[in-house]
């Protein structure tokens, strides 16, 4: 008995000690205030740029990281009582849902016009920060670039049976199918999906596992976003046997997808929220995305790195990101073709 209460006492002491050290340090520049961010983008990608913002402005950034869909749902549940000032989303879908519930305040014109019209909301509720391109990742030990089809439609050929990886549950893949419906039309998109399905693609849960599977030879090619590859090259060396192939042919297979940010209308720190968004669109932050996360900067004058083809050359980039938000037709198509359960 005394042992049990002894144990309780130890727990309490540990908890109390942990509690003391877990208390956040007092902000060094209290006058600059704070900004509360809900970030659907991973801490590993964006924490350094938030730190740069704090250093430049003295504004403390309090971040809640999570999945974009989960954070969007959280904002919808919180409604006007949300503590968040800013929603930074991995894809426009989450922003669209929050904007549709009237929770986002329009951004000032001078912020919006820093990026091309297709990379922001028409009603000005959110603005794109960085982009990633849809590419084909291929195994360099099995294939040369010239073995690959010019167009993603080529993958319905029997030669690719069982050798393609895709992630139909992934938001980026679904955005690509939405773009296909707009460029190719419903019938051709359905035909492509049916043809792909007949080729028994290997189904993955997200982009990173596809790149891993192309690297270890489980599959030969995969339909992914471009920047995951560079993570693998970083941790496993340049000998990692996979590279990106840009299907630069004017179709939906060279789509540009953006991450975006919006300001919550009910936020308590509107000034700091705008300061943060302005900072993310500044050359310093845009250069960070180009150089550290290997994404496409969206602001003119900052160029992508890693030998990426320039943004203007990717014709898929002309489709307004907002049109990719309407998913219902795509989901219906994916359910009807049996690709989604």
């Amino acid at each position: 008995m005394s042992r049990f209460f002894g144990s309780l006492l130890v727990i309490l002491v540990v908890v109390a000690l942990a509690g003391c050290s877990a208390l956040p340090a007092a902000p060094s520049t209290p006058n600059a205030g704070r900004v509360v961010v809900y970030s659907g983008r991973s801490e590993n990608l964006v924490a350094p740029v938030f730190a740069q913002f704090t250093q430049a402005t003295g504004v403390q950034v309090e971040v809640r990281y999570g999945g974009t869909a989960e954070l969007a749902a959280t904002l919808l549940e919180e409604g006007r009582n949300s503590p968040a000032d800013v929603f930074y989303a991995q894809d426009p879908g989450g922003l669209g849902a929050v904007a549709a519930a009237d929770l986002l305040a329009p951004l000032p014109e001078d912020l919006l016009t820093q990026v091309a019209p297709q990379f922001r909301a028409e009603d000005g509720t959110w603005v794109g920060i960085s982009g990633r391109a849809r590419v084909v990742v291929y195994n360099t030990e099995r294939l040369r670039p010239e073995d690959l089809p010019q167009d993603v439609r080529g993958f319905t050929a029997p030669r690719w049976r069982g050798k393609i990886g895709w992630a139909p549950t992934n938001a980026s893949f679904q955005a690509m199918v939405t773009a296909m419906r707009q460029i190719w039309g419903e019938e051709e998109t359905r035909a492509w999906l049916v043809g792909m399905q007949a080729n028994q693609p290997v189904v993955f849960e997200g982009n990173a596992p596809i790149v891993a599977a192309v690297g270890n030879g489980e599959i030969e090619v995969g339909l992914v976003n471009h920047y995951y590859l560079y993570r693998f090259l970083r941790e496993q060396g340049e000998s990692f046997p996979a590279r990106n192939y840009f299907m630069n042919n004017g179709g939906p297979d060279s789509l540009i997808l953006v991450s975006g940010i919006g300001r919550l209308a009910g936020g308590k720190n509107p000034e700091n929220a705008l300061k943060l968004i302005r900072f993310l669109l500044s050359p310093v932050a845009q250069q960070y995305f180009a150089g550290q996360t290997y994404e496409y900067p969206l602001v003119a004058g900052v160029n992508p790195e890693r030998g990426l083809p320039p943004l203007e050359s990717l014709t898929g980039a002309a489709i307004p990101a907002e049109q990719l938000v309407d998913l219902q037709g795509t989901l219906n198509l994916l359910h009807a073709t049996g690709i989604l359960p």
Binding site: S7, E43, Y65, A69, E77, Q236, L340
Partner: protein
């Protein structure tokens, strides 16, 4: 000197005891049950606005098939988890197995590996092009490896990740219960096997039923591991609906289907949990452990196999990721803040959950009527739906009705209690059932108040159960993700959220480092939680 009570005085005492019971048992039990009902209320509210399209989806044959796939997997995993857990629990509590204290601490560890991370690791290690088949290509051809994907893989991986639920339940009971009946059975000529089947197993039945229920519900509500292992279940379909269309009413309606399934499982569990009262005994001085003799080697082999697959393999995979990243010059980032946050939140969760579960458990075991059974069953329902649903329910109530507490540590611990109360409840009920009632009655007849009897007799007797329950909650709270992400204070990273954030963006070394620390902390905490049941087990000097 003995006091003689007049009938009137007796009536006063009876009344005050009744009042005491209402204040100390029924009131907290009802409050806790009401808290447990929040997620259901939320689901009901949301489901009301579901459109006709989802009813159509639900009515399809394929949806029924998905539900059957979910149930089939849950059944298969529950059976195999129990089949693994019972011998393991017996070996570490009853036998002279070499190194049993270490094994006892290591065996629950798969509980702390978040299921999607576990599945990711198993796939990267065991798929035909994974690390292990690649290392073994000189001896075994790739094509000879069975696929890790589909039902078989999901079954294996989920069994390895969930057997600790049954193991911890069974171990608590075996550590507490009397062995004299088993000894008597042996002396009457029963073989060891017959003794096990006729005496030990019936004794374990309530613990198996509650542990098995946790496993079944875990499998039913999982969508992370089955997605990676390419076995589509009903819950995965719910999550996909929700994730891609952000349609909360649809997801809520589908989650209610899981709640209905859970009610059925609860009925089965409560039938299985009824205990043969003759087995409900307790001995203060356990006899020495059973000598394994020639069985030492196969027993050790079984333990090594389970520990190797369930703990060794994920840890090996993590060390590989870490080493590879460090060689490439990856920076790892500090983990001291997430470590302290994890211990703080999980420690509080363990403490508060066990305290909250006690009145419900006492009520169910000691005053077991319809009301108390219903209260216990009710508190399980939240466990049936994916954690993200519970988290969103608490977001809704917290942000709109208790803004002062919203996204504070209080709110997070409350979420953990809602999520993990059923885990503690199962262990505590099993432990309480083993406490002989006449001990409590004897103490009461000596003039102790019910409170004193509970504190001085019952609580010490069930302390192994308390430790097991706290340990179980501690481990599962350490790995919890959806509620931690949405409800923790801003800027409150835990080890689990760090691992998740890194794996999802292919930062493998940065995921491995906090994951290894998570497993290390859990192992140490298990050694510490185990002191109770294990030391009780040693023969007194």
């Amino acid at each position: 000197m003995r006091m003689v009570l007049s009938p009137a005085q007796g009536e006063v005492i009876f009344r005050s005891r009744l009042v005491g019971r209402i204040t100390w048992l029924y009131l907290p039990a009802f409050l806790i049950a009401a808290a447990m009902g929040l997620p259901l209320l939320y689901l009901g509210l949301r489901a009301l606005s579901a459109g006709p399209a989802i009813w159509e989806w639900l009515g399809r044959v394929q949806s029924l098939q998905l539900l059957l796939r979910s149930l089939g997997l849950a059944l298969a995993v529950t059976l195999s988890a129990a089949a693994l857990a019972v011998p393991l629990a017996w070996l570490v509590t009853r036998s002279d197995l070499i190194g049993r204290r270490i094994w006892a601490a290591v065996l629950p560890l798969p509980l702390v590996i978040p299921s999607y991370v576990g599945a990711y690791l198993y796939v990267s290690l065991l798929s035909p092009h994974g690390l292990i088949p690649t290392l073994l290509t000189p001896w075994v051809s790739r094509s000879a490896w069975p696929s890790i994907y589909g039902l078989g893989g999901a079954w294996l991986v989920l069994t390895l990740m969930t057997y600790p639920y049954v193991y911890l339940n069974a171990r608590a009971v075996l550590a507490m219960s009397d062995r004299t009946v088993e000894e008597a059975a042996r002396s009457l000529g029963y073989s060891p096997w017959a003794t096990f089947w006729r005496i030990t197993l019936p004794l374990l039945r309530p613990a198996l039923a509650s542990g098995g229920l946790l496993v079944a519900l875990y499998v039913l509500r999982d969508f992370g591991a089955v997605a990676i292992l390419r076995y589509t279940t009903f819950t995965r379909a719910i999550y996909l609906h929700y994730q891609s269309s952000l349609d909360r009413s649809t997801a809520a309606l589908l989650a209610l289907v899981l709640v209905v399934v859970t009610v059925l499982l609860l009925v089965i569990q409560q039938r299985l949990a009824r205990l043969n009262p003759a087995a409900a005994v307790h001995a203060p001085k356990p006899p020495p452990p059973v000598a394994l003799g020639l069985w030492q080697a196969p027993a050790l082999a079984l333990v090594l196999l389970v520990v190797g697959l369930g703990v060794g393999m994920p840890v090996g995979g993590l060390i590989y990721w870490l080493g590879r990243g460090i060689r490439a010059g990856e920076t790892l980032g500090a983990v001291s803040a997430p470590l302290l946050n994890s211990i703080l939140a999980a420690g509080l969760a363990a403490l508060v959950t066990v305290v909250a579960a006690l009145p419900l458990a006492v009520l169910a075991v000691r005053h077991g009527g319809r009301v108390s059974r219903a209260l216990v069953g009710w508190s399980y329902l939240g466990f049936a739906v994916p954690g993200v649903v519970i988290a969103l329910a608490l977001v809704f109530f917290g942000a709109n009705f208790t803004p002062a507490l919203y996204q504070t540590l209080v709110m997070l611990v409350f979420a953990y209690v809602v999520l993990f109360l059923p885990q503690a409840l199962g262990v505590l009920q099993a432990a309480l059932r083993l406490v002989r009632r006449n001990l409590e009655e004897a103490a009461a007849s000596l003039g102790h108040s019910p409170g004193e009897v509970f504190r001085r007799v019952t609580l010490p007797l069930i302390s192994p159960g308390l430790a097991s329950a706290a340990g179980l909650v501690f481990l599962t709270a350490l790995k919890e993700l959806p509620a931690t992400l949405l409800l923790a204070p801003a800027g409150f990273p835990t080890l689990a959220t760090r691992v998740w954030g890194a794996v999802s963006e292919a930062f493998f070394a940065r995921a491995a480092w906090p994951a290894l620390i998570l497993i290390g902390v859990s192992a140490l905490s298990m050694l510490w939680f185990n002191r109770n049941p294990m030391t009780r087990n040693e023969p007194n000097p």
